[in-house]
Amino acid sequence: MIENRPWLTFVSHATLLTGIALVALPVWMALVASTHPASAFGVGHIPLWFGDAGAETWGAVLFDKAGNGVDVPVWFMMLNSLIMALGITFGKIAISLLSAYAIVFFRFPFRNLCFWIIFMTLMLPVEVRIVPTYEVVANLDLLNSYTGLTLPLIASATATFLFRQCFLSIPGELVEAARMDGAGPWRFFFDILLPLSRTNIAALFVILFIYGWNQYLWPLLITTDDAYYTLVMSIKRMLSVTDGDIAWNQIMATTLLAMLPPVAVVIGMQKLFVKGLVDSEK
């Protein structure tokens, strides 16, 4: 603190609290809405304080079929989301660790070319090549499968760069010492490189889990079978009711359940999350 200005400190706290309140507002309203029976929304406003139908709504949402053409309950879709998120996370970390290892610790022809090919993926997000990517996945018969949900998304330039950066900071003496002690490339990888990259892997895990869980466009394109629906994309199907008779309390509870795991990860592993965000700032 440079100088003591009590009113300025007061303004700071007040601004922050207002900011927090505004940021939390939609989630608060959703939480309140999910504790009222569906009939409460017909009268023309969303109630402002908790009702007493919470347990009923949340139970129904979690365990009954979601409805509107979705024949699986929310817990099942959460499981699908979890499989997809973990598949993408572990896949990205594994293949990026291997590529970074190859690029940093070996010399071979076209090494730079390989690096640039991986770099290209940054310039080709799924969003800009939606139709042809769908066609490729359809040709490979990967629609409606866990492989289709995860595999096409696990190439990662960001993760490869991050691990490359991390490996480059490892002193050459360490490699030499390991080689003198007779460690081959695999032993070096598992006994030295992996333990040294532990924090980086953990930080990246947090970021990638959020990325994987929150996928929307991709599952929307390639799943038509509810056995593979993920929770985030199913929100759209639940909202697309034509007769205007939407069960808002259930939609709100589903939305909250869909955001709960990644939000819990961010709050529970705040330090790693911040590190991951700063490291992967592309």
């Binding site: 922050l16 090919i117 490892i170 999350f273």
Partner: protein, 292 residues
């Protein structure tokens, strides 16, 4: 210079998974988009004919495409500027306070984890014209809110939902930037009698410009490519074309309109844009590394 292993075949084996996935799921579709952009295909994919640059000519003579470019620019810059202003204000305040800094940070960063589609749904309901508390409050204040009919209101809604999610990211980077400003500079200015307000605009804000520029690029990329969920789950590009961004249009023309050639031509244009933005981003990072 890093010490290396002598094996010749092993590195290829290590790179194989990444290269295979990149080739199959990134380069092949990109090549297909490039190829398709020069053909006209019927909706069933039975026949196609080479038409050269006609898809591009159609695209750039279509007023709807220009409208979509304008929509994207308005949307992206609104998201970037609103989000960064709010985040900067909060970060400056959080940098000032001593008590409860970490608690404030925790309570401000969690929206980053919310999927764009869910952020859209949450705000969509708060603004629902018949029952949303904000819409009803606006009505009592004399604003006739109905984003189902009014294009600019629909735009405001998707901007709010997209910005809400991105404030946490901007906040974290601004806070880190603020903490890197040398205390001695600020103390010197304080001793010379500069007010906190003056110190911010003449010392802190200029020193933050690398962070600001970096965040501007990141926010534009986010608004361009990652807000598909916000739009698709709420306005679906409407009413009319008022919230159809370029990315939404690729999807809409390709999957709903089944205009494969047109959609492919748009993909090619977008690849150019994203390539350009990536280059800007990387050149900037390089510079930051050199001078810091």
């Amino acid at each position: 210079m890093t010490v290396t292993f002598p094996q010749k075949g092993l590195p290829w084996l290590l790179l194989l998974p990444q290269l295979l996935i990149t080739a199959i799921f990134f380069l092949w579709p990109a090549e297909q988009a490039l190829e398709q952009a020069f053909y006209q295909e019927d909706a069933f994919g039975l026949s196609r004919e080479f038409i050269g640059l006609e898809n591009f000519a159609d695209l750039f003579s279509n007023p709807l495409y220009y409208q979509s470019i304008l929509t994207t620019l308005v949307f992206s810059f609104s998201v970037a500027i609103v989000g960064m202003s709010v985040a900067l204000l909060l970060a400056v305040m959080a940098d000032r306070v001593i008590r409860g800094k970490l608690a404030y940070q925790t309570l401000l960063i969690w929206p980053y984890a919310v999927a764009p589609a869910l952020a859209g749904v949450l705000w969509w309901i708060l603004f629902d014209p018949s029952m949303g508390p904000i819409a009803l409050w606006l009505k009592s204040a004399g604003v006739d809110w109905n984003h189902y009919l009014d294009g600019s209101q629909a735009m405001i809604l998707v901007v709010i939902a997209s910005t809400w999610k991105q404030i946490s990211y901007n906040f974290l980077f601004f806070l880190a930037g603020l903490q890197a400003v040398p205390r001695s500079l600020i103390e010197a200015a304080a001793i010379d009698g500069a007010s906190p307000f003056k110190r911010f605009w003449t010392i802190v804000f200029p020193l933050l410009s690398p962070t600001t520029f970096f965040l501007l690029v990141v926010n534009l990329v986010y608004a361009f490519f990652e807000t598909f969920g916000v739009i698709d789950a709420t306005t679906k590009g409407g009413p009319g074309q008022s919230t159809t961004t370029l990315v939404y249009k690729v999807f809409d023309d390709g999957f709903v309109g089944l205009d494969l050639g047109g959609s492919a031509a748009q993909s090619v244009v977008l690849m150019g844009i994203v390539g350009l933005m990536t280059v800007i981003q990387f050149r900037f990072i390089e510079r930051k590394v050199q001078y810091s």
